[in-house]
Every structure is written in structure tokens, then in C-alpha cells.
Symmetry: C2
Subunit: 400 residues, 2 copies
């Protein structure tokens, strides 16, 4: 949906702003958010609030009076903690100077696209994809170019031929999101190597979204308890920017805390852009981030276990015969193909009305997602179970 329909042209706004799409997820969410008894599986967050040890770190910082302006790159303690986190997960050394604190994963991505793509540029996005990639690219004045992924019995695959064909002289960036929101696809090391080779060949930057890296369910794709990463295949001077967030690992969606990992040579530019974007992230929020990293591994382990339980339960929807669902290899979403579905948005609205379950319409993730619904299964098993029951009951009516 283009918001400009309702805006009098006399207001004379910029096209980048008028063309910023309303998220198809937000549409559905706004429609059903206050419905009593709804089981909300539409957005990418679980049902648990942030653990109290994290909240207390913020409250203590506030009580100490840490309420002033701060470092635009992030407080040193958090940048060091983020580096240590990477050292633990990737089992090698990381320089804290590579990490820049942002007010969420979304601002990290906005900063990345502001550096890499603008007026007249094109950015390749394998789809279905999180709609905010296209949104951030659009408001930067660049053009998102969707390249549908292929799907077969084995699940989703990057279409390297399609990507190659979509490249023009104006292409500047390739987005790679693995584990994928919404499909649960996880890139193998070979996929990543091929994507990197493509980017090198054409002088493209890669924006890598590996934020679900700890939510990996397919043992064949698991490396040291995490998903394969560009870090496994890249050289130090490859042009890759990673965007990251505290939201998913530590149930901190509402905190707006994330980071950007980029070559330290970009430091001054990133600092300047942060100055004009948010002017930094609250210190007390950053202290919460330090606590999350330092004390949050056991909570994260519970989150991962919860996601796996949810994934098992959702798998039962296949038994209805109305749904195709290759088991998602990572993240915490099921991307359900509804047999015979034409309009996933209609189905999403009707599921709210008739089953009191909130799913995200596949069309929100690009044309390649039409006919699908995304279900977030990071939730207490009873809820997921009940949601699956309600959906199973309603589906035959909805696709008739």
C-alpha cells in the first residue's frame, strides 16, 4: 500500500517519503491488536518480557544518574562486550573498533543503506524478505530489486542465476539474510561462498543480516551451535556490513538496541551518521545490553529450546493437508504455503476474525511470498498448540 494516496499533492512531499510502504505486517497487527483472546503470532517477537536482570541493569544505571549525552559509537563497555560475545560465538578474536552501537537493528540497517545506496542505486534482495529492507532502501532514495528465491521439496534456495541477471551498472548492494525471516532458510557455507564470489565479481557490498544466528534447528547446517556466517568465508577486506540486534536473543524487542559491524575505517562516517540519526543510544539501555551479553546465555538457551518446541508443534499443520511447510532450518518462523490461497492478506484478516489468531500475510514479504502466511512460534507451547488447533479448524473454510 502506498501511503501517498491519502496525501494532498499540495503538500508537496518528497517521493522517498511518500513511497515508503506501509508494512503489510503492521496493517494486520493494527487491525487485530486489541481483539480479546487473540493469539498474536504476527510480529517477530516472543511472549516473554525481558528478563529482570537486564531490566535491573537499566534501572541501576538510571538511579546512578546516567542520563546525559554519550558516545556516538556506543559506550566502550558495550563495544567490548559485543566483541567478547563474537569471540565466544565465532571462536576467534574481534576488535571492538569494528562494532558500533545503534538504537536497534533497524537503525543499523538504515545507517548501512545510507552509506551504500542512494538516488539511482539498486539493491538486490532475495525474496520473500523482511519488508523493512525495502523500506529502508526506499527512504534512502534507492531502488529495492526483489529476486525471488527458488523453492522445491528441499525448501528454499538462493537463485544465483536470477541474482546475476538482476545486476545492472547501478547495482551496489546485495542483501543476504540467513537464517531467514520469514522462510527459515539457512545459507550453507557454500551458499555464502557463492554469494560472496558474486559480490566480489561485480564490486557489490553485502549487507548481512545474521541476527537469528543462534536459532538454528538443522544439525547439518549447524557450526558450533550457530548458523554458517560470512565470517567463515570472508577475507578481512571484503566489503560486508553486518547488522545486528539485541531483540531476538534476549527478548529485548522494545528496547531498540542493536549494532553495526563494519570495517573500522568507516568509524568516523558512522559516528557522524549516528549523530544526525539518533544522536546516540541511552547509556542505561546500553548497560542493559552489557548485562544481556554477560549474563544472558542461559536465558538464550531457554529461548532456543522454546523455539524448537514451537517448531515441532507447528509442524503438525502439515497434517491438515491444506498447508505445505518444509521444516524451517533456522529462526523462529514457519512460512506456511496455503494450498489454493490467492490472497494471503485476506486470509490473515479472516484468521483474526474467525480463528482469533494473528499471522502475517506472506504478501508483506514481497510478491514471492503471496499465498503464504508467516507464523512466529517463539511462544509458550500451550499457546502455539491452541493456535495450531484454531488454524487447523478454520483453514478448510478459508481456502474453500
Amino acid at each position: 500500500m502506498n501511503a501517498s494516496a491519502a496525501i494532498p499533492s499540495v503538500l508537496n512531499l518528497r517521493p522517498e517519503a511518500e513511497q515508503a510502504p506501509t508494512s503489510g505486517i503492521v496493517d494486520v497487527f493494527s487491525y487485530g491488536r486489541s481483539k480479546p483472546g487473540i493469539i498474536p503470532l504476527w510480529v517477530g517477537e516472543g511472549d516473554l518480557p525481558t528478563p529482570s536482570f537486564i531490566c535491573e541493569a537499566a534501572a541501576q544505571s538510571l538511579a546512578k544518574g546516567e542520563t546525559f549525552y554519550t558516545y556516538q559509537r556506543g559506550i566502550p563497555e558495550l563495544r567490548q562486550a559485543i566483541a567478547r560475545y563474537h569471540e565466544g560465538v565465532y571462536r576467534r578474536a574481534f576488535d571492538p573498533e569494528r562494532f558500533f552501537v545503534t538504537s536497534g537493528g533497524m537503525p543499523a540497517m538504515q545507517l548501512a543503506f545510507r552509506m551504500l545506496a542512494g538516488n539511482g542505486d539498486e539493491v538486490l534482495i532475495p525474496t520473500p524478505a523482511w519488508p523493512n529492507f525495502a523500506g529502508a532502501i526506499t527512504i534512502a532514495g534507492a531502488r529495492p530489486v526483489p529476486v525471488p528465491m527458488a523453492i522445491d521439496e528441499g525448501g528454499w534456495h538462493l537463485d544465483f542465476e536470477g541474482l546475476e541477471k538482476a545486476i545492472t551498472p547501478r547495482t551496489r548492494v546485495l542483501v543476504v539474510n540467513s537464517p531467514s525471516n520469514p522462510t527459515g532458510w539457512v545459507a550453507s557455507r557454500e551458499d555464502l561462498r557463492a554469494a560472496l564470489a558474486l559480490a566480489r565479481r561485480h564490486g557489490l557490498w553485502i549487507v548481512a543480516d545474521e541476527i537469528y544466528h543462534r536459532f538454528i534447528h538443522d544439525p547439518a547446517l549447524t557450526v558450533d551451535g550457530r548458523s554458517p556466517s560470512f565470517r567463515d568465508v570472508m577475507e578481512a577486506d571484503d566489503r560486508i556490513i553486518f547488522v545486528q540486534t539485541f531483540s531476538k536473543n534476549w527478548a529485548m524487542t522494545g528496547w531498540r538496541l542493536g549494532w553495526l559491524e563494519a570495517p573500522p575505517a568507516l568509524g568516523q562516517i558512522i559516528e557522524n551518521l549516528v549523530q544526525y540519526q539518533t544522536s546516540g543510544t541511552p547509556v542505561f539501555v546500553q548497560r542493559a545490553g552489557v548485562a544481556a551479553i554477560e549474563q544472558g546465555e542461559s536465558f538464550l538457551a531457554d529461548q532456543i529450546a522454546r523455539a524448537r518446541q514451537g517448531r515441532e508443534i507447528v509442524g503438525r499443520l502439515s497434517e491438515t493437508g491444506l498447508v505445505e511447510l518444509p521444516p524451517p532450518s533456522g529462526a523462529f518462523y514457519a512460512f506456511l504455503k496455503i494450498k489454493g490461497a490467492r490472497n494471503s492478506k485476506d486470509i490473515a484478516f479472516r484468521l483474526i476474525d474467525e480463528a482469533n489468531v494473528g499471522l502475517a500475510p506472506g504478501s508483506a514479504f514481497g510478491e514471492a511470498g503471496e499465498g503464504y502466511l508467516r507464523l512466529c512460534y517463539l511462544r509458550k507451547p500451550d499457546d502455539v498448540d491452541e493456535a495450531v488447533r484454531r488454524i487447523g479448524e478454520a483453514l478448510p473454510r478459508l481456502v474453500a
Copy 2:
């Protein structure tokens, strides 16, 4: 300073990013921030941490588990509180639908410029001006056009002829900041009427920064305890966007909480842009904002009194004979003209080294500010007094 000097061109970044200037305030701040005993008067914040009743509102919200994604326009309670705040200050009715919560004044401004100015557009800024206007305009791909204000014995004045001459077919926005950071200039109602007439005549938007509206020291310019506002002279359909912040009134600089006031017709576009900018502001931060508005008037009164005391003390610098300082009518800055000064940045660095006082160099506010220094006097009187003593002692050496 242009950050691109240090960036290898092989990285092939966007010019909007490379051209984003490093703030001349941040340069000095970074140089001296950790010097023992320094009296820091360089940035626009006072010395008091946020009052505890505001911090406690955030801590309570956290303890209640308000840690999830939320409304992109802001929680209804805060939008209503902001409307009530305006009703109190401007003594008329305000529709909460005009107000959009942002993660600070800076994001509010970034959203405004994203809507109004982009590639090829020009934005007029009366200077000396807060450097972040030009920064936000540059990263939006537009061109900031400084128009020096005039100065005489009576202080600073808008140069309407200069503004008129600077207008081209590409001019889209006029920025008006009153009370002004850094000069302390306050627009009279006649000034605002004339600025509005100019904007109407040329089809320009106005971005109005009236964030220091309660810090008004000249009785001749005071209306009901606040500065004159575009609200006093505008019609409902005038194209004006107001940017605002909680930072100054309630000592909340580090919280990153502000708002945008705009015609409700822009609501969906603003919501979309917020989605791709920060994806909303933490609920617990917004609860703190509600507390600030509902219980913060007596703290604000103390802040204003503190600013007036500081202003009196700083006035003594005129006695050195080395400084010209028309008494600032509003805000909490003294903008000192140093007699014979060539390079205000040099002087700012030397004041750190030789007087252990941190001021912002006038050149950070545009060429029109060269030869000046900005001093933030919202600080406990003893500190301001000692800073004035140290500056008075060092100045004769520095301008020799």
C-alpha cells in the same frame, strides 16, 4: 571537517554519507571530555541528572514488563500528555493526532527533512545555527543554504532581504530556530509573521525549532511565560512542522525522547518513516515522558531559574573588555564575540588546555559564527562563576 579524507575511495560510499560533517562541537568535546577538573560548557545540556520521579516511571514500566514492540506514532498516553502540555503552554486546544513521538529531537528533525527535502533540494538556514540542521539536510541528499543573520548593538536579527535573495526554484524549506541555539536570539511575533509570509509567498515549508520556548529571559519578548511561537500567527493549513524534545526542559538529554508536531494528514507517512528509522521508541522511555509532563513543572521552573542565574554570571565577561555579548534573550547559551579572534576552534582548544574550561567554537555553527564561542550556562552557579573567572584570566593571552 569532511570525514571522507580518511576513507579509501575503493570503498565507494555514498556522497551523502561521506559529506556528513563531523560536528565541530564533538571535535572539541572529544578532545577534552576526560580532562580532570574541566568545567564542561560545550554541549547543550545542564549538570543535573534527570529527576528521580522520571527515572522511577521508567523503572516501574520495566518492572511491569513493558519491553515489547509498540505503536510507531507513540503510545496514546504520551501523545495525549503532549497535547495537554501544549494546551497548558499555549492556552488553546490541541489534537493529540498532531503529535508523533520520536526517539529524540534529532530523529524528529531527520523525519521532517526526509519528508520535505531530498536530492537537488535546498533548505535555508539562518546562521549561526545548530550544526545538526545542516547535517540532517546533507544526509537527506539536500543542500543546506546558510543565510547569515545580521548583528548590531541590539543583538541578532533575521536578514529577510538575504533570505529572499537566497531563494531559488529548488528551495523547499526554511528553518526557523527561536529561541536560538547558539545566539540566544528570540524571534518577535513580527519576525515570525514576516518569516511565515515569506514562506507562503514562495511555497516553502517551515521547520520550526522552538525547543527552548520556556527559557525566555527578555520580558519584552515573553508571552504567557514562553517565547513567541508560529502558533501565534499561523493558520491551520500553513505548512509548518515543529520539532521538539524532552531533553532541555526536563534534563533528559540522554533519553532520546522527542516529538514531531505536524498536520494529521501526514500521520501515515510519519508512521511509515518511523518504522524504517527506529521502529518506535521504548515504552518505558515514553512512560518517563508522561511523568515529566505531568509532574515536571516545578523542576522546569528550577531549571529556568538556574539558567537565569548563569546568564547573569556570564554577563560579567563583558567587563574584561575582550568580549562582546549582547544579553541573550532566550535559551541557555551565551554566544561570545572574542575581540580580535581569528580562529575560534584554536581558542576553544587552548581554553581546554590553559583554562580547563570547555566551550564550543563558533565556527561549528557556520561561517557566521567564526570569532565566537558558545557557552552553556545551565549549570550550578559556582561552576559558572569559576569558569568565568578562568576564562577571564586566560583570554588576554589567547587573543594577544
